[in-house]
């Protein structure tokens, strides 16, 4: 079992407890001053009120992967953050679900937004401009007649109206184009690949990782495809209204050509486009991918530009893979530019080949295609060359991180992610606060009952339980503040229940310990040593049982979903705090108290009154040395306790041998003798046992013959104990009994005493 305990040092344990508490308080105090810590734990929705939606993202015909789940979380976060809802919490749960917690009672729109599905699509770009609205220069619809006969000139004018032209930027928006590159994205006109391009196309430049297009310099991708539909802008047959037909191979792409098909220039669309303010995050919520077969207006995901996009040409399900890496130059050497490579399946390759074939070489922005995820433009690269082998490379001024993000978005967004609502809960804030108040009230009442019961059962000792529970309460609260601050933990009602129950179990550790101490008292031990021995035994039990509790808490936390986790968390937390309490507070407290007169001498109200515990008064007095003075005198005369012990053990062995004891008894005696040297005991306790009157065993030993051996009732046991208090811990009941018998036999045989 455990190594011998050194002289109890309760002060040290108290100090540790003090340091721990002070550290936590200081940490959180610091947190409140310099960071976002608070003196009250954050509350979960069920206590605070709000809406909690549990969604299961679903992709077609496939189990969702971790990456897709993360992508889904990112999509929802983008949507929610953009709506300006503060303190929204979006977390994944159990590898499958997304929990969206929104404070208050969000409106229908927000909730719809959260639930709408998301998909990656490719669309042609019809117009691009800086993100700001052009309200002051409302394009007059008369000037932009919708019709296929729009001339090149008109087109130019339209572009200008839309703020795209650098020749005539609207007064307030000089930076609408090249001069206002969005942070983090490719700067506009300075892209080398675009050198020769018309700078008037501000949008194209701003639009994302501006691209010199797929495979621009990539030799292997440069083979011109004869089958590619005519590059001529006027050629593509399909017009904007028609592309809803099923994507048969006979259909030609692109379905839509903004150059010739003026169907997109409707009044609403132009107005919407002009008014769209992509600098306002609210307009970048995504969620609405728009009708597949109609032109839409959209913002770049980072708010750096806005677009008019044609109908969907190709959806993301045809993307088989996306990766990122360094761009390969035309000579096959690696450049320092990051590139994202897209791979398509056969159908995708075919369509993409046709599109790039058609748009390459057109004037910006008509040579751009937009990659749209969840209604937001991720990137709108220009096509540099037709891509016919299904492998497109998007180059641009990416940082590695941007390239990685884009590649992941392309890869994981391939399948449409829809969100199935698993559960949706709207909790009224009044109910939440009611719950909290009631939970606290219940906790208060429960605690009060525990206190009353402890006091009845354990008298003054119950106060130790009560103060121990206070320690648990304080430490738990501090730790909750800590996790609430550092890890965003929110206390739920289930969590409150976990704490209340955990505190009940903390009281139980006290009971296990106290009952052990009482057991030792019943065995005739003095309180000081009973506390030590009782602790040695109770400790094992407490640790083992707490381990089981912790196991349950951890398994629940890891495997369970929803409110169960909050419960498991606080339960586990209180298990830890409970251990701290019992080790650093209750045990040292008992050590201290055992030395007081009130407890040490077994005051009836102390809860450790041996008389109440069935130890007979005379035995107690004898065994536990209430006649301490006498014992001290004796010990002073006889020398050290250790010496006495040794002699006692020797005597025991001899007497055992003489009385023809069983193997078990001999073994017990051996154990006694063998472990004497490691004796650890309160000296005064030892003295007590030495001075036991009428102890038959001690009487036989050389050590402590004291008084007449007539008074045996009950004291015999104390005498047995004296043969080596420390190893009693390790002796089984059987051995103890064996030794008790030895005493008897010695009495029978007339008590040999050869010292």
């Amino acid at each position: 079992m455990s190594a011998p305990v050194n002289k109890p040092r309760p002060g040290l344990r108290f100090t540790w407890l003090g340091i721990l508490t002070a550290f936590l308080v200081a940490l959180i105090a610091g947190g409140t001053i310099w960071s976002s810590a608070t003196w009250a734990p954050k509350l979960a929705l069920d206590l605070e009120g709000g809406t909690s939606i549990i969604l299961e993202p679903q992709v077609e015909d496939a189990a969702i992967t971790q990456e897709q789940l993360q992508q889904a979380v990112a999509i929802i976060r983008q949507r929610v953050d953009a709506t300006g809802v503060s303190e929204a919490e979006i977390t994944t749960q159990g590898n499958r679900n997304i929990v969206v917690n929104l404070p208050g009672n969000p409106d229908e729109e927000t909730r719809d937004l959260v639930r709408s599905s998301a998909q990656l699509t490719f669309r042609r770009v019809a117009a691009v401009s800086g993100p700001e609205p052009q309200s002051e220069q409302e394009p007059t619809q008369e000037e932009t007649p919708a019709g296929p006969e729009l001339s090149e000139e008109d087109q130019q004018r339209l572009d200008e109206l839309l703020g795209g032209g650098d020749e005539a930027p609207p007064a307030e928006q000089p930076p609408a184009d090249g001069e206002a590159p969005p942070a983090g994205q490719a700067p506009a006109g300075d892209d080398p690949a675009q050198g020769g391009e018309d700078a008037a196309n501000a949008g194209g430049a701003v639009a994302g990782p501006t691209v010199p297009g797929p495979a621009g310099q990539n030799g292997e991708q440069q083979q011109e495809d004869a089958e590619a539909p005519a590059e001529d802008g006027e050629a593509p047959a399909e017009d904007g209204e028609a592309p809803a037909e099923d994507a048969s191979e006979t259909e030609t792409f692109p379905r839509f050509d903004p150059m010739t098909d003026m169907s997109w220039m409707t009044e609403e669309l132009i107005t919407a486009f002009a008014e769209l303010d992509c600098t306002d995050p609210e307009n970048r919520t995504g969620g609405d991918s728009g009708p597949d077969d109609e032109p839409i207006v959209a913002c770049a995901q980072d708010g750096s530009a806005k677009f008019v996009l044609g109908p969907v040409e190709l959806d993301g399900s045809h993307v088989t893979d996306a990766s990122f890496g360094y761009e390969m130059s035309s000579t096959g050497t690696q450049t320092n530019n990051m590139a994202v490579t897209l791979e398509f399946d056969d159908y995708g390759a075919d369509v993409f080949g046709q599109i790039t074939g058609a748009i390459t070489g057109q004037q910006p922005p008509y040579n751009q295609f937009a990659i749209v995820l969840d209604g937001l433009v991720l990137s709108a690269p220009q096509s540099q060359t037709p891509v016919t082998d299904g492998k497109a490379q998007i180059t641009g001024d990416f940082t590695q991180e941007e390239a990685e993000t884009l590649a992941n978005q392309l890869k994981n967004g391939a399948l449409p992610i829809s969100f199935q609502v698993q559960s949706e809960q709207q909790i009224s804030p009044t109910l939440g606060s009611d719950y909290l108040a009631m939970g606290l009230l219940a906790g208060g009442i429960g605690l009060l009952l525990v206190v009353v019961y402890s006091l009845i059962q354990y008298r003054a000792l119950g106060l130790v339980t009560v103060s121990g529970l206070l320690v648990v309460g304080v430490l738990t609260y501090l730790l909750l503040l800590l996790v609430s601050w550092r890890y965003g933990y929110r206390l739920s009602l289930a969590g409150v229940a976990g704490i209340i129950i955990g505190i009940g179990m903390a009281a139980d550790s006290n009971i296990v310990y106290f009952e052990r101490v009482r057991d030792e008292l019943r065995s005739g031990r003095k309180l000081v040593s009973a506390v030590e021995i009782g602790w040695q035994r109770a400790r094992r039990t407490i640790f083992a049982s707490k381990a089981v509790n912790m196991l349950a808490a951890v398994i629940l936390y890891v495997l369970a979903v929803g409110s169960v986790r909050g419960f498991a968390f606080t339960l586990g937390l209180t298990v830890i705090v409970d251990l701290l309490m019992i080790v650093l507070f209750v045990h040292p407290m008992l050590q201290v108290l055992a030395r007081t007169r009130f407890f040490g001498h077994g005051h009836p109200m102390s809860g450790m009154d041996p008389r109440q515990l069935g130890v007979k008064p005379e035995a107690y007095r004898g065994a536990l040395g209430l006649d301490l003075e006498k014992a001290k005198e004796k010990s002073a005369k006889r020398g050290s306790f250790k010496e006495a012990k040794k002699r006692q053990a020797v005597a025991e062995r001899r007497s055992a041998a003489q009385s023809g004891t069983s193997i078990a008894e001999r073994k017990a005696a051996r154990t006694a003798a063998g472990s004497t040297s490691t004796a650890v005991l309160e000296v005064d306790d030892a003295l007590d046992s030495e001075s036991v009157p009428g102890n038959s065993e001690s009487g036989n030993s050389a050590a402590a013959t004291d008084g007449p051996s007539s008074d045996v009732a009950g004291a015999e046991h104390g005498g047995v104990r004296s043969s080596g208090d420390h190893e009693e811990r390790e002796l089984s009941l059987a051995e103890r009994k064996a030794r008790r018998r030895r005493g008897q036999q010695q009495t029978e045989t007339g008590g040999v005493d050869e010292s």
Partner: protein, 343 residues
């Protein structure tokens, strides 16, 4: 209290002894009966599963003067005729309205209808929608957690006690707790909600905890039992259980007190909800767990070990010793029958 004290003392010494082991077969038979009944009840009665398991919509209206059922039923059927509402007053000021699964629009309609009908503000209504697969998901997760917990706990206990029989006995006790608690839920028609499941899982943890405490004492008593000639193995086990009875009672009471407080508050002040479900499961389960440890797990352990040759050998040796010393064939009482003059 004095009587409780001296009773505890007598239990400790063996002067008073509850025959946990002596009547092991009786206790196990009774437990077996409870288990069978508990298994049969759900077959006929079924569980009252909450909407978390069945799917559906639920509204909770608080701070209302009017808790009549008809108000809610009329309000709901008026806006959504197919909603099949069931209205349950959960306290003096709150009602709970459960309906079939509604769409989001319908949810809002019902919500508004309830606000109007019960004369409360928007803040006083809590609504919950549970999709059809959620309950299945929760159940699956819970079962997996349960199986893993039991498996790991078994290994941990077998390692700690160094005998798989203790581990097995503890798990048998655990299963009795589980089945009987479920039986009580089925018999009384308490609603089974995710919160009740939380409570239920906690009970399992508590049950094992309780068993570990008792078994630790048994383990201590029976250490080196082979060399003991005074008491039989089964008597040592029985003494161990008796010695922890007072602790078991105190522990159970102290654990149940806060739970009872929550239950009381939940029933009389708060109405149905998380707190009620958790505390109810805990209240029932904690008591069952404490009883199961004493009357199922421990006797089961004694029975399991009773067939071992060295146990039988030891018991025979003790009997022999007793007859040779003219002692009665029963467990001696500590501190009294060991007095020298008596033998």
């Amino acid at each position: 209290m004095k009587r409780f004290f001296s009773w505890g003392n007598d239990l400790h010494s063996g002067k008073t002894s509850i025959p946990f082991v002596g009547r092991a077969k009786l206790w196990l038979l009774i437990a077996g009966g409870f288990v069978i009944v508990s298994l049969l009840i759900p077959v006929f009665n079924g569980f009252n599963l909450g909407i978390a398991f069945t799917g559906g919509s639920e509204f909770q209206v608080t701070n209302t003067e009017d808790v009549s059922k008809s108000t809610g039923v009329e309000a709901v059927t008026e806006v959504v005729p197919t909603a099949e509402p069931s209205v349950v007053p959960t306290s003096d000021t709150s009602v709970r309205v459960s309906t079939a699964q509604l769409t989001d629009e319908q949810m809002q309609l019902v919500r508004e209808a309830l606000i109007g009908a019960y004369g409360v503000s928007n803040e006083d209504v809590t609504s919950t929608f549970i999709g059809p697969t959620w309950g299945q998901d929760v159940t699956e997760k819970m079962l997996r957690a349960l199986v893993i917990f039991v498996a790991i706990a078994m290994v941990v206990m077998a390692l700690y006690f160094r005998t798989w029989k203790m581990s097995l006995a503890a798990i048998v006790g655990l299963f009795v707790v589980m089945i009987v608690t479920m039986g009580i839920y089925a018999a009384t028609g308490f609603e089974v909600t995710p919160e009740a499941i939380i409570g239920f899982l906690t009970v399992l943890s508590f049950s094992l905890y309780d068993t570990v405490v008792v078994f630790d004492k048994i383990r201590e008593n029976t250490e080196n039992f082979q060399e003991n000639r005074r008491m039989k193995f089964s008597e040592l086990v029985n003494l161990g259980i008796n010695q922890t009875v007072v602790r078991s009672i105190n522990t159970s009471i102290i654990s149940v007190l806060p739970i009872a407080a929550i239950l009381f508050i939940a029933v009389f002040l708060l109405g149905a909800g998380t707190l009620l479900d958790i505390s109810l499961a805990l209240f029932v389960g904690t008591i069952v767990a404490a009883v199961s440890t004493l009357f199922v797990a421990s006797p089961m352990y004694a029975l399991l070990r009773g067939r071992e040759p060295d146990v039988q050998e030891q018991e025979a040796a003790v009997e022999e010793y007793r007859s040779s010393h003219g002692l009665p064939d029963r467990a001696p009482v500590l501190f009294e029958e060991f007095e020298p003059g008596k033998v």
